[in-house]
Symmetry: C2
Amino acid sequence: MTTIDVLKALANERRLRILDWLKDPTRHFPPQVDGDLERDGVCALYIAEKLGMSQPSAGEHLKVLASADLVIGTRIKQWVFYRRNEQRIEEVRAAMKDL
Amino acid sequence: MTTIDVLKALANERRLRILDWLKDPTRHFPPQVDGDLERDGVCALYIAEKLGMSQPSAGEHLKVLASADLVIGTRIKQWVFYRRNEQRIEEVRAAMKDL
């Protein structure tokens, strides 16, 4: 994953919104039966619903973010939960300092 | 110009290289007859040559950077000279802090 790939992953309104929501999952999403919002992240279904998108379309955005390591997906039962990868996001900020 | 447009403008290897070269024009480009390298920027012809691209192709990349306000173009005679817009680049860094 190069800086270019990360920039491409970020260059999308919906993906930036997802990253923003995941900063404070409890504020933006309802409680979950499986998966702790803060520890495991947010179920892809809830993210799709909040985006107002079908599950496959939202899933594409989540895949792009995950491929760029900006989010981390955790599978619990049949669902995938996503949380921010703060370490990677910090690396992106550091790379931007060299811009 | 939104953050998205700026990220798209940055998400390209050649455009990142141009921005990098323009940090230190004297080091990366030969002296110019017209236009002071540091004050006015680098002639688009020299940038095209250093990229190993045709003038129109290089011009497209420069247009993308200029549309995103990341570089400033100055016309002198029949040429356009490009320099970094440090203020805008600083704004991008600041926006990345909120990522």
